[in-house]
């Protein structure tokens, strides 16, 4: 809030709220695991383990209560029909023959509010932590969105930016926690929307799997590779001759 007020000119009127104490409770945890992550090679399993341990902790404090009541079971179609009456079915995954893997919440566990309240004391939820962490993440990113920045932003994601010139050196350090790392330089790039973009390299770049690539593209939810030209053409379509570009997903 003070970040937005001082640097961006927002103003606030507080209506009500919750005050908390402050503490740096994750400092040792993060430093210990980041130490492992930055001193092991990417081929070492400990690299991935430490990275995942670092990135998954914050979500644990913000888990949806319902997750704790969700059960999973493999049932036949007939059993599933019986269960619909007194369970809320969240998800089904067809398995072989007539078996399904289902995720469901038992109505009994769901409806009784006071039971829920009792249980909360064993759930280890502290949503304030999760909310604070993602909020600080946005604050950290907001320093690149200020008015006095000497570059134009084309695209931002949770933790990345695409800009039209190099960042000042003081922000860049590929090993330091919280600093920026130069990911790619694109000769040409298109941004169609959140999580849908493409970039064309100057030369072919060999990726970690040994493939030679001229471009990177990403389309939300779509796993196959889309050519850069496909995305580029989509951008320049005129309204009066909209062509449908169809993407088929292999299973």
């Amino acid at each position: 809030m003070f970040n937005a007020m001082n640097k961006f000119g927002y103003s606030f009127k507080v209506i009500r709220g919750y005050l908390f104490d402050q503490g740096f409770i994750f400092k040792d945890y993060v430093n210990s695991l980041y130490e492992i992550k930055s001193t092991t090679s990417k081929a070492d399993p400990m690299y991935l383990i430490s990275k995942l341990l670092l990135n998954t902790l914050y979500g644990k404090f913000g888990m949806h209560e319902e997750v704790f009541f969700t059960q999973h079971q493999i049932v036949s179609d007939d059993e599933l029909f019986e269960m619909i009456d007194f369970n809320m079915i969240l998800d089904t995954t067809p398995l072989r023959e007539d078996r399904q893997l289902i995720s469901f919440i038992n109505d009994k566990a769901r409806d009784i509010d006071h039971k829920l309240n009792e249980l909360h004391h064993n759930l280890n939820i502290s949503i304030g932590l999760s909310a604070a962490i993602t909020a600080y993440g946005r604050i950290h990113m907001s320093q690149f969105k200020q008015e006095d920045c000497k570059f134009d932003i084309l695209y931002t994601d949770t933790d990345s930016i695409a800009i039209d010139r190099p960042l000042p050196d003081k922000f860049v350090d590929s090993t330091k926690l919280g600093s920026m790392k130069l990911e790619n330089i694109f000769k040409k790039s298109v941004y169609l929307g959140p999580k849908m973009y493409g970039g064309l390299f100057n030369t072919f770049i060999v990726d970690k799997d040994g493939n030679c690539n001229a471009a990177i593209t990403k389309v939300k939810g779509y796993k196959n590779i889309v050519s850069f030209d496909t995305l580029n053409n989509l951008l320049y379509l005129k309204d009066d001759n909209i062509q449908k570009t169809e993407l088929k997903q292999e299973k």
């Binding site: 961006f8 606030f12 507080v14 740096f24 409770i25 993060v30 902790l57 350090d173 926690l177 169609l192």
Partner: protein
């Protein structure tokens, strides 16, 4: 894992619960993290968003893309976290406390000429929920 943190991974069904286990066993010490439930949980959950993802200029040449090294772990280590005893209040806390720390319900007036707005809110339109950063009042 066992060698380093003396925890048996077969006891944890997910990685995040293992992360939680390690944190609790070795790093939490005497700090009190409040368990939040009921109305307070619902209130604060309203303010729980992910990151901002947006497209501002649809295409460009000679573009540099940057990633933050471990954004969330970085902020976890370097910014104060909301812990300890929780106090509820109504009214403008800014009149009483210089720099209050916590979660507040606020009315926001934004500048109208920002290039890139930074404060997000959730908007539901035609049954589809998205997060956006408005300008205005």
């Amino acid at each position: 894992m066992f060698n380093r943190y003396q925890l048996n991974i077969t006891k944890f069904s997910t990685l995040s619960s293992l992360a939680f286990g390690i944190f609790r066993a070795h790093f939490l010490k005497d700090t009190k993290i409040p368990l939040i439930s009921g109305q307070m949980l619902a209130d604060i959950r309203q303010g729980y968003y992910g990151g901002a993802t947006d497209m501002y200029i649809p295409s460009g040449d000679n573009i540099f893309t940057y990633d933050v090294n471990s954004l969330y772990p970085f902020v976890m280590a370097n910014f104060p976290m909301p812990i300890g005893k929780i106090r509820f209040f109504e009214g403008n806390v800014l009149d009483i406390i210089d720099k209050p720390f916590g979660f507040f319900e606020v009315e926001i007036t934004t500048p109208t000429n920002l290039k890139i707005p930074i404060i997000l809110t959730r908007v539901t339109k035609h049954g589809h929920t998205s997060t956006m950063a408005p300008l205005g009042n």
